[in-house]
């Protein structure tokens, strides 16, 4: 039995002697929402105001609502309404249609999931098995909003949190140890846990660009440098030594971030994002690599002869071989930084 299968529904009826205005006001205070939002709930009633909670919590909420004169009902949620991302429930939730709207489905369709075999033909109604999320402002200024179900935790890149509900509790973890420091990624990862009900977090990557989401199913994705944005707790995030030659000559970090396991993973780019299906050989400039799937072999090479190595302006490139996916970005942070160099003020002597 799932412990969080209860939900609270506001019936729209008020206790005798309670005016609508005062109820709306009390409601907005209780749930810390804007007056307009509370007003909206009452005009649309009956509305589920809390879901995915256990019976005790649901009863508590009902009592609290009763105190402010709002009538409500505690009910068992049906399978469709069970919050997802529960490992043991994965199969079921995969087919669920939890509040699936066309809008979200289209959004997902444009987000290029890693594997499409499950509902390849009916992707418009396929529900994302992990956390509910939306990406706005694509492709130039992508911004991620994730709904974290009650008592669940999301791992987010340090300082990437832009907005969040007040019931989210942040813990900072020095994850990945020294390796993270060497990837030039911040060594700290923040963990946001939503307490007493689901919470919403807005995540803004540091560089303007696009965002991609993949749901890992016992798979591994390698991320370059600063591409990590957020992940499910079941995704193992670790740094990987690329080997001296691979890392050293790439001019990038010596490490890649290795994400493996089961769950959501979001990563970002600087500039537009292009997904390439590699079957055979593909060459990518090292500073334009965002991510690639495991199974692809890669080595750092020069583009042409030795003349090209020094004069082509490309320096070293990464040659992928095998079968898999590579995500690249249309801009490069390094290239932009070196463009900026002449504009740096000159240090005065003495």
């Amino acid at each position: 039995m799932n412990t969080s299968a209860y939900q609270v529904r506001v019936t729209g009826e008020l206790n005798p002697g309670v005016s609508r205005e005062s109820a709306v006001e009390a409601f907005s205070k209780l749930f810390k929402v804007a007056n307009e939002k509370a007003e909206n709930i009452f005009s649309k009633a009956p509305v589920v105001v809390k879901k995915g909670v256990d019976e005790a919590t649901a009863n508590k909420i009902q009592r609290a609502l009763d105190n402010i004169g709002v009538q409500s009902a505690v009910e068992m949620a049906t399978a469709e309404q069970v919050p997802q991302a529960q490992a043991q429930n994965e199969q079921k939730s995969e087919q669920s249609t939890n509040g699936s709207t066309l809008e979200r489905a289209i959004e997902r369709a444009s987000n290029a999931p890693l594997k499409q075999e499950v509902h390849a033909t009916s992707r418009l109604v396929e529900e994302q098995p992990g956390y509910q999320f939306k990406i706005e402002g694509q492709p130039d200024y992508a911004f991620l909003t994730v709904n974290i179900p009650a008592e669940k935790t999301l791992r987010v890149e340090a300082s990437a949190m832009a907005t969040m509900d007040t019931n989210l509790v942040m813990k900072t973890k020095a994850k990945g140890g020294l390796g993270r420091l060497l990837t030039s990624e911040s060594i700290f990862i923040n963990e946001f846990t939503s307490q007493n009900g689901p919470g919403e977090i807005g995540i803004a990557p540091a560089s303007p660009g696009d965002l991609a989401h993949v749901y890992l199913r016992d798979e591994t994705i390698f991320l370059q440098n600063s591409a990590f944005v957020a992940s499910d707790m079941n995704v193992v995030v670790e740094t990987k030594w690329q080997g001296l030659t691979k890392g050293f000559f790439s001019g990038e970090s010596l490490f890649l971030i290795r994400c493996s396991g089961n769950g959501d993973l979001w990563f970002n780019t600087y500039g537009g994002m292009i997904m390439l299906d590699v079957d055979g050989d593909y060459v990518v400039d090292t500073s334009n690599i965002v991510a690639f799937t495991e199974g692809l072999d890669y080595k750092i090479t020069k583009v042409g002869g030795y003349k090209s190595l020094f004069f082509s302006g490309e320096g070293f490139v990464c040659r992928f071989s095998g079968k898999g996916k590579v995500w690249i970005q249309t801009r490069s942070v390094q290239a932009f930084a070196s463009w900026m160099y002449p504009y740096r003020p000159v240090k005065k002597k003495g």
């Binding site: 537009g272 290239a335 932009f336 504009y343």
Partner: protein, 227 residues
């Protein structure tokens, strides 16, 4: 050669499809990805022509000294190009004509296009912006990039454009450097300095933003470098 622009206008990248036997010449450093069968040669000039002198001239133009030539070895291939700065790209089909392109805006062109440095004389030097221009001649497709959006201005008669905002213009246009205001003092204080005055009939492609202005805006926030 088939050019497709994606993620326009902010984060534009160009996907160039090449058939076997076709060659594409690009500014060095512009390639962001390519298929594995692509052969890259780096030269100081257009393949099988030109020389060091031309290359030196190009370096002074703010273009890099070297050009990369992409040629698929077996079967078809593709190359992706991207610029350093955010902005749009455009393609232009040269039909036995000349296009003058501002130093940093040249990205790539077909093998059949001649790349030369269009020395515009001493007057260019005074404009203070990109001093040199790249002259693209012949027949074939050309790929240009800009900082910000690109908008064409049809000129019939006279038109004035700030020199930092020019992407390219038809060679049919004659241009001269002039002051923006009535007096030299006003032009200088107004921050416009010198502008380009076009005369004749043709098209000028302008970019919505001036890379130099952007650079100097960032300047106070950047760490000082050693002289």
């Amino acid at each position: 050669m088939d050019i497709e622009l994606i993620h326009r206008p902010g984060n534009t990248a160009a996907k160039v499809k090449l058939q076997q036997g076709e060659t594409c010449t690009a500014e060095s450093g512009a390639m962001i990805a390519m298929s594995g069968n692509m052969d890259v040669t780096t030269t100081t000039h257009k393949k099988k022509s030109g020389g060091v002198l031309k290359a030196l001239k190009r370096m002074v133009a703010g273009e890099s000294l070297f050009l990369n030539h992409f040629e698929p070895k077996s079967g078809d291939g593709e190359v992706w190009f991207g610029a350093n700065l955010a902005g749009d790209m455009m393609t232009y089909n040269l039909d036995n004509e000349s296009l003058i392109v501002q130093g940093g805006s040249f990205m790539a062109c077909e093998d059949s296009v001649e790349i030369d440095l269009g020395w515009q004389g001493f007057k260019s030097f005074l404009s203070g912006e990109s001093v040199f221009w790249v002259n693209l001649k012949g027949k074939g497709q050309v790929l240009l990039n800009s900082f910000g959006a690109i908008y064409p201005v049809e000129v019939d008669g006279e038109y004035i454009v700030d020199s930092g905002h020019i992407v390219a213009f038809n060679e049919t246009l004659d241009f001269s450097i002039t002051k923006a205001g009535k007096s030299w003092l006003h032009s200088f204080l107004g921050g416009e300095g010198l502008v380009c005055k076009f005369q004749g009939k043709g098209t000028v492609w302008c970019q919505s933003h001036n890379p130099g202005s952007f650079g100097w805006t960032l300047s106070p926030g950047l760490k000082p470098r050693k002289a």
